[in-house]
Amino acid sequence: MPTADPSTASDSCIAVVRIGLFAGMAEAAGRRSVEIPWTCGTVAQLKARLAAEVPVIAPLLARSAVAIGAAYAPDDAPVPPGADVAIIPPVSGG
């Protein structure tokens, strides 16, 4: 996957959000992360954008949670540009 150029990654005019994918969702998408141009919006809006960007994951996405950093974020939570977002599909540890 491409690595952001450190000289531009923090430039405020480059507003993207990187979304980490795991397990069956990463396998379905064929990649472990998706970057989406992003200025502002909620978790629900980001999920809608992601579903449009990668339609193959939409069914699993519909029953997945969203984490920002190391905590779950509800659908109405804001997603700041540059946030570390991950999609958490139904879990199966143990």
């Binding site: 069956g24 905590a71 879990v91």
Partner: protein, 167 residues
Amino acid sequence: MAAIPMDDAPTAVVRPDLPLLVRQPIATDRLLARVGDAAAGANVLFTGTTRGLTADAVTERLVYEAHEPLAESQLSTLVAEATARFGLRACIVQHRLGPVAVGETSVAVAVSAQHRPEAFAAAAWLMERIKAGVAIWKCDERPDGTRAWVHPDTPPGGQADVAGGGS
């Protein structure tokens, strides 16, 4: 364990500082030894192991993946909650990542308490919550080379919630 009556308030709870997520085999006997102390009259070790047969489906191995920062945070919170809720003397949880062969331990919970009801209850409570909510996934790999990630709550007709020979 010495059968010492210790119904008075116990001394400080032991909190062994062990990794929550590991890529090597879990030394379950050592976990059990780590939770014991003189005030603990009950020590429970639960191990979840890779099951080789689920109904008619053969599993060769399970491969575990986690959102590691989230899973570590969740497991750490569960350990603290269980310790407070059940008045545990000590509590250790470890979960494997990567491939886990049939018969190997994928998850271990070791707890100690003054008496057995809270020790049994805490181990069961921890396992239910780990399985229900911690950001860890298993991929069921079969002898014929096919594989499937397990994502429960599959709509009716799906098989994912019964596949995968984990605990």
